[in-house]
């Protein structure tokens, strides 16, 4: 019902728009057609897109989103018919559940074999049988701290509750990431649906609020580089970049465990240009291209062949970019908790924020 009404409204809107605007921008695409890609912001080396267009003659129409949650309704409504998206683990699971993705024809993506076996094994958590997702980037969530601003070596999430660092802590402004930290501190699963565990996590986050300087997403990076805060929760992919800019910064995976995430290319069910989408994924899996992207965005690549090509030993063996996950306990990947779970988490988060 919801979907139908949404579609009707969209059709109304589109028809009114087309009455007013003389369509001047009917793009015919490149000589070999077009592919519509919807990816995270700043999540690709723009040069690789140009190279793809040159080599294949396929025009790439490229759009960006900021969070999985912003991407999902747009794709679901089908207002723009994208061919390719790059969601995270739990969102892929949600999209599979809601029948928004189509199975990958692996025969058409030979370069997918460059991706390490372990990443496919990990993908099974949200994509059983590896049917829908081609890993693109992965990483952990951890603590970034400024060595000159803390007194002791940091290895635990509990430092985020240390009153010494009042007004010096940056938290992630996203529901699941914030709850992950609190749940891990209490020794619970970050995919918990247990009312008591979640209430305990909520209390913990409320307790933390007076110490937090700000809840931010992308700005953790700039604020840490600028020395605005001593400690911040951050994605590992940003850590290498921040260290380059400010050598005082150090990244650590806390001992209580954390979130190991994978963002993967998925072809949408309604894709009009499946063949071109496959070519695009295959191109992205090529070692030299994956290397270019890694060097540009500094998020860990699952592409083993590309990792071999990294010239700088420090980066190739970096424990930030390529940690040996077997050393850590309680690592988990987010799973989709259903609409009910989403609502529960969001309501608790609102209670924390309005406190």
């Amino acid at each position: 019902m919801k979907k139908i009404v949404k579609k009707i409204l969209i059709v109304m809107l589109v028809s009114v728009l087309s009455m007013t605007i003389l369509s001047a921008c009917s793009s015919s695409g490149g000589e070999n057609g077009v592919v519509y890609v919807y990816n995270w912001g700043e999540y690709i080396d723009p040069e690789t897109i140009e190279m793809f267009e040159e080599e294949t003659g396929i025009e790439v129409v490229y759009d960006e989103y900021e969070t999985n949650e912003i991407m999902y309704p747009k794709v679901e409504a089908g207002a723009v018919s994208y061919d390719l998206v790059c969601p995270s683990d739990y969102m892929i699971q949600k999209m599979i559940d809601n029948d928004l993705l189509q199975e990958i024809n692996w025969a058409n993506i030979p370069n997918a074999s460059n991706i390490g076996e372990q990443y496919y094994v990990q993908s099974e958590e949200f994509d059983p049988g590896n049917k829908y997702a081609v890993p693109y980037c992965w990483g952990t969530v951890g603590i970034l701290y400024n060595k000159t601003m803390v007194d002791e070596p940091i290895d635990s999430w509990t430092v985020l509750w240390d009153e010494k660092y009042e007004n010096n802590i940056l938290m992630q402004d996203s529901v699941r990431d914030a709850f992950m930290v609190a749940l891990k501190v209490n020794g619970h699963s970050m995919n918990s649906m247990d009312e008591a565990e979640l209430q305990a996590a909520k209390e913990l986050l409320i307790e933390q609020k007076p110490l937090v300087q700000a809840y931010v997403v992308d700005q953790v990076r700039d604020k840490m580089i600028g020395g605005e805060a001593a400690i911040g929760v951050i994605y590992s992919g940003e850590a290498i970049y921040t260290q380059r800019e400010n050598p005082d910064l150090e990244y650590v995976i806390p001992k209580e465990g954390t979130n190991v995430w994978i963002d993967s290319w998925c072809i949408l069910k309604d894709a009009q240009n499946v063949e071109n989408a496959e070519k695009f994924i295959d191109f992205m899996c090529r070692p030299d291209i994956a290397l270019m992207n890694f060097e540009y965005i500094t998020y860990s690549t699952p592409n083993d062949a590309a990792r071999e090509l990294i010239e700088d030993d420090d980066i190739r063996n970096s424990t930030i970019a390529f940690p040996d996950l077997s050393q850590y306990e309680n690592l988990e990947t987010f799973s989709y908790l259903g609409e009910e779970g989403d609502e529960l988490y969001n309501n608790l988060w609102k209670e924390i924020k309005s406190e």
């Binding site: 019902m1 919801k2 009404v5 409204l9 109304m12 809107l13 009114v16 728009l17 009455m19 007013t20 969070t67 949650e69 912003i70 999902y72 309704p73 007004n167 402004d173 996203s174 529901v175 609020k209 937090v212 300087q213 700000a214 809840y215 931010v216 604020k223 600028g226 020395g227 605005e228 609409e339 989403d342 609502e343 969001n346 988060w349 609102k350 209670e351 924020k353 309005s354």
Partner: protein
Amino acid sequence: MKNKKLNSLMASPYILWSIAFIIIPLIMVFYYGLTDKDGAFTLENITAITAPEHIKALSIALLLSLISTVICLLLAYPLAMILANMKGNQDKLIVLIFILPMWMNFLLRTLAWQTLLEKSGVINQVLEFLHLPALEIINTPYAIILGMVYNFLPFMILPIYNVLCKIDPNVINAAKDLGANNFMTFIKITLPLSIPGIISGITMVFVPALTTFIISNLLGGSKILLIGNVIEQEFLQANNWHLGSGLSMVLMIFIVISMIVTAIFDKDGEGSAL
């Protein structure tokens, strides 16, 4: 007759525009606000405003936007009077100076304030250099009020300035001839005549301040949840368009009230004519 036809022809782009960008979006908001996930009619999304966290977000938003509106009025009125009393083209230049920043994107200006106010920001570095105590208002309600006042002040100045300019100097001279001193002239003549401008200024500051979410995100460090932030979260994070629309409808009540007030006081549309 011919004139009428021409008129409706001229109006047609505007009619299409308002259908596409006002009427249809409003219908969508009402549709989502009055239905639940299965498309059945419900008032739950509207009564949800009574939930403690929503009431709290609404009252903080009301409080902060009220304070900002009052500050804007206190700052804008004297300035508008000074401008209106200026001779020649001087006032035009000063008005231009106030409008000039509005040519720059609103987001960028707010981000600039973040950089200015930060702990190690520009202002604090200057204060430190002068051995003065640091200014610690970033990520507090004070920074949000500052952001609101800064961003919306021109919307208060311009309508008041506009109304003051239109006051016939002979009216004021007459008051003085009849023995009123400056203060009496202001209270009895200037102020009552400028009320349409004041009211439209108040609306133009209060409504955007009440609904903002960007200012509280950027300058409040997302620590202070305004009703605008709640709605933003419902749409962008929780993907619950129904609740988001329902809460927007509650906000619309406040907007409609201020529009009615404006309409009563500003019958000639003097204040809003920029």
